[in-house]
């Protein structure tokens, strides 16, 4: 079984090496990437099966690699249900992103290579079992992301990109210092589950955990640092790059999921009110910006931010029982987000071909209308997927912990739901049919089938979030 974990971990890197040898301007690299993702999904499903559905919440498989055994620096990988669900969501989202690429971009080897490298780092990050491995992949993912943004995602201005990188680098430095301090005190590498038991003085412990929290917070667009990602994300027109960049807040959130609350000492509870305040302020602020802004990608960014912060508020609750709900929600969230991005960018491309940006297209594209509406309904949390159930549980838990926080969370979520539904309203038919708009081609039957199958996966999760585990 440890071989399976190793294979799952290394498969994207192997795919990367294969893609490197493929000729330029062909679909070979794209096919390699697709095959890699599908193969890894198969391995994940196999691992789900192995973990035994009955004991899914507690079961895990670990593998240790002896790197520097004499110096107590071994690397551990640990797989459990939470990490597998999140990885599965990431893979499906990336497959959707690959599907959304134009024919030119599918033949771009550099994009595929950087994507596969990024996927490998995400793999390592999600299954890291000790602090050193965790840090290695937390940092390593920044390089491919930076390259993807600079080469394919962000057009002309390099200053926001530079700021994006440096801001994340500061977060990496924070985690690096915390990691070295922990390793020094423990006299070697330490498993994530044992971190709370490291014997440190209280002031030093607070410093270490502040650094850890800062490192994770730096990945999430919390006010007043939300600008670093919004300025970069809102200009991306490549769906794969957009989806990849929007996975960055997930890494910050996942960091909290891994550490909180059992791996964190009591002294860190001082930070909880501060995180809550900043999260709520950001949620309301971003929701208002989403209401005002007319661009759909910006609205989607506000939707992403608010939901990431909702999950963050759920994570820092003093209970360990919500992690599976958070994982289920994240699974649906990533897929819905990816689908909305791809649909939107595809339609923008089609509209720009007739010289109009987002006319009242719903009348002229019934299949696209159907698919987009479904995804928006799932996104706003209507009871058509497990997103509804999981969010219901999370918001209830937040209300139970603090009524005030719960109220603000509901206000922000409601506002962003209005934002998304308003988008549908904006796209409705207005007046008589227009000859120019009739030139817009609807999505093909094959594509419709693809999207409906994704919708089916999501809707079946309403009955059982892990229905795909046999």
């Amino acid at each position: 079984m440890s071989g399976i974990i190793l294979l799952m971990f290394l498969l994207p890197l192997i795919g990367c090496l294969f893609a490197m040898t493929s000729p330029k301007n062909t679909f070979n690299a794209f096919n390699v990437a697709l095959l890699t993702l599908v193969s890894n999904i198969a391995l994940i499903l196999f691992l789900f099966d192995y973990l035994n559905v009955l004991t899914l919440q507690t079961a895990q498989i670990a593998q240790t690699y002896e790197w520097l055994a004499n110096f107590n620096l071994n690397l551990t990988f640990r797989v459990n249900a939470t990490s597998l669900i999140i990885l599965l969501g990431i893979y499906i989202a990336l497959i959707i992103g690959l599907k959304g690429l134009s024919s030119d971009m599918r033949q771009n080897k550099s994009l595929i290579l950087t994507s596969l490298y990024f996927i490998w780092t995400m793999n390592g990050f999600c299954i890291a079992g000790d602090i050193v491995t965790f840090y290695i992949f937390f940092s390593a993912m920044l390089l491919p992301l930076f390259m993807m943004l600079g080469l394919f995602g962000y057009a002309k201005k390099s200053l926001p990109l530079f700021r994006f990188f440096m801001y994340n680098f500061l977060g990496i430095i924070c985690l690096f210092v915390a990691m070295v301090l922990l390793c020094r005190h423990y006299n070697g590498n330490i498993l994530l589950k044992n971190i709370a038991f490291v014997d440190m003085d209280k002031p030093l412990g607070i410093i270490v955990w502040m650094l850890v929290c800062l490192a994770f917070i730096s990945r999430i667009p919390v006010w007043p640092f939300h600008y670093w990602i919004s300025s970069v994300v809102s200009k991306i027109k490549n769906p794969l790059v957009y989806i990849t960049v929007n996975l960055l807040p997930l890494t910050g959130l996942y960091g909290f999921v891994r550490f909180w609350p059992l791996s964190v000492p009591e002294s860190v509870e001082l930070l909880v009110p501060i995180i809550e305040v900043f999260s709520i302020v950001t949620m309301i602020f971003i929701a208002l910006i989403g209401l005002v802004n007319k661009e759909f990608l910006f609205k989607l960014f506000s939707y992403n931010t608010i939901y990431y912060l909702l999950f963050l508020l759920a994570v820092i609750l003093p209970t360990d029982t919500l992690k599976m709900n958070i994982a289920y929600s994240l699974f649906i969230f990533m897929i819905v987000n990816a689908s909305l991005v791809v649909l939107e960018l595809q339609m923008e491309e089609k509209c720009s071909q007739i010289g109009n940006y987002h006319p009242a297209i719903f009348a002229y594209t019934p299949r696209f209308t159907l698919v987009l509406s479904f995804f928006v309904l799932i996104a706003v949390g209507l009871p058509v997927s497990s997103f509804f159930w999981s969010n219901f549980v999370l918001i209830s838990a937040i209300f139970k912990q603090s009524f005030t926080v719960g109220v603000f969370v509901m206000i922000a979520i409601s506002m962003v739901a209005v934002v998304l539904i308003n988008t549908l309203y904006d796209l409705r038919r207005r007046g008589t049919l227009n000859d120019t708009y009739m030139k817009i081609t609807d999505i093909s039957n094959k594509e419709t089938l693809f999207w409906l199958s994704v919708v089916c996966i999501l809707m079946l999760s309403f009955f059982n979030p892990l229905w795909f585990v046999l």
Partner: protein, 472 residues
């Protein structure tokens, strides 16, 4: 007698080869045999130094043990690497490389003596020869008149500090009647409270700092690097840290051990200033050579922060960092040798504009090596920085840690500038065909680093074992 000849073969061989090069050149100016002679000389010296690693020809003056084996080994590998790349450069530029070869052999020989010496007079003499070799290389590197000026400034400063070293040696000899490390250690033990002794030690350290380009004496180093031709630049940037830290390690633990508290402050100041100046200087440059020179200054400051602990454990950590740094620099320099346009090698940052679209493999490797240099995982440089931070924490140098972290952030900006220029800048520069040897070098270097990652434990254990042999 025969044994002594064999053990002394490296020095004999170097001297003979230098004479042969000069002789052949006098007989036939068009001959390029100096490349083969230099290569043969280095390989021969390497062979003798490795096979007879624990045998010395003049044991009262020169040592031979694992410590010297380590530093001499990386000296030879570095020199062979530089020679290989330089040969291609000179062939492309159609100029004579005889001065380069002579300078290289001279520096190699003097660096070897610096590493092995256990006598202060011999050490200072070797430093003098090292300075002379540097001067030859600087004068040979006369791309512009600026280099001429810098080499003169360097020599004047070096002469001043060599004079200071000479005076120190005379004073010590007058007091102790011996300049062997063991005798000097006893001398400093009995006189450790004397201000005069401390002053002598500080003068020696500062003189060494000037010769090897540590801050605050870095000005000639960075200015010269910014003007040098690529082969000389590559050689200097690699050879200086090897010779410097071999010398400092040996002197610290064998001679100046009783001044560890006072010298620690001097080293800390030099390390802190080197790191900050290196990071800030790298950010402000548009000259690629200067950016890398300041980066080298930062790394030398980093290694100095470990040497200042006066312990074999810290020396081991420094040696680990040095090897990983050298491997990374081999890669970066190979990439620089692989990028040329219309017969001119890259010199300014703007020469790299949009290179990634035309030389994707080289630029990808350059990017990876730069990230390794800054300590980004999953590259090997991550372990080097992790080890360094642990060393600083273990020795409670908190303010150095803060300076290091600040300098890292600033240095990252400099490297980002290079990567941005490589990938995101648009230009119409066309690059010449790169030799297969460069690609081969890059690949071998990358594979070496990957292999080292997997066999890191063996490497770390052996390095630390070798550093334990520093004591005379």
């Amino acid at each position: 007698m025969l044994e002594n000849i064999i053990y002394g073969m490296p020095f004999v061989l170097s001297a003979i080869c230098v004479l042969l090069i000069v002789l052949f050149q006098m007989l036939d100016k068009s001959t390029k045999s100096y490349w083969k002679i230099s290569t043969f000389c280095l390989l021969g010296c390497f062979f003798f130094d490795v096979v007879f690693y624990n045998k010395s020809v003049f044991e009262q003056y020169l040592r031979a043990d694992y410590y010297t084996l380590f530093f001499k080994g990386i000296l030879y590998i570095t020199s062979l690497f530089s020679l290989f790349l330089a040969r291609r450069w000179y062939a492309t530029m159609a100029t004579s490389g005889i001065m380069f070869c002579v300078g290289l052999l001279l520096i190699q020989m003097s660096a070897g003596i610096i590493v092995s010496s256990v006598n202060l007079a011999l050490t200072f003499g070797a430093i003098g020869a090292f300075v002379f070799g540097n001067y030859i290389m600087l004068r040979h590197s006369e791309v512009k008149k600026a280099t001429n000026f810098i080499s003169s400034i360097y020599v004047l400063g070096a002469l001043f500090f060599l004079a200071a070293l000479l005076c120190s040696a005379i004073v010590l000899y007058a007091d102790k009647a011996s300049l062997n490390y063991e005798d000097l250690r006893e001398y400093f033990l009995t006189n450790r409270l004397a201000f005069g002794s401390l002053s002598l030690v500080v003068i020696i350290i500062l003189s060494i700092g000037y010769v090897f380009g540590f801050s605050p004496f870095h000005f000639w180093f960075t200015e010269a690097m910014g003007q040098m031709i690529l082969p000389v630049f590559a050689y200097f940037i690699l050879i200086f840290p090897i010779a410097a830290f071999a010398l400092l390690g040996s002197l610290n633990l064998n001679v100046f051990i009783f001044y560890h508290q006072q010298l620690g402050i001097v080293y800390q100041i030099m390390a802190a200033v080197s790191m900050m100046v290196g990071a800030v200087g790298a950010c402000s440059g548009k000259n690629l050579h200067k950016i890398m020179a300041y980066s080298a200054l930062f790394n030398m400051g980093l290694m100095l922060s470990m040497v200042q602990n006066f312990s074999t454990a810290s020396m081991g950590n420094m040696a680990i960092y040095l090897v990983i740094y050298l491997l990374t620099m081999y890669g970066i320099l190979s990439a620089m040798f692989g990028l040329k346009s219309n017969g001119e090698y890259v010199f300014m940052l703007s020469d790299l504009s949009g290179a990634a679209s035309k030389k994707s493999y080289i630029c990808a490797m350059l990017t990876a090596y730069l990230f390794s240099l800054i300590g980004f995982p999953p590259f090997l440089g991550f372990f080097a920085t992790f080890n360094t931070m642990k060393d600083l924490l273990n020795n409670h140098h908190l303010y150095l840690i803060l300076i290091l972290l600040s300098a890292w952030i600033v240095l990252m900006c400099a490297y980002l500038q290079i990567i941005r220029t490589l990938y995101f800048a648009k230009s119409n520069i066309t690059y010449d065909r790169t030799e297969r040897g460069i690609y081969g070098f890059l690949l071998i270097n990358a594979l070496s680093m990957v292999a080292l990652w997997f066999f890191l434990e063996i490497f770390v254990v052996n390095i630390r074992f070798m550093m334990e042999a520093v004591f005379v």
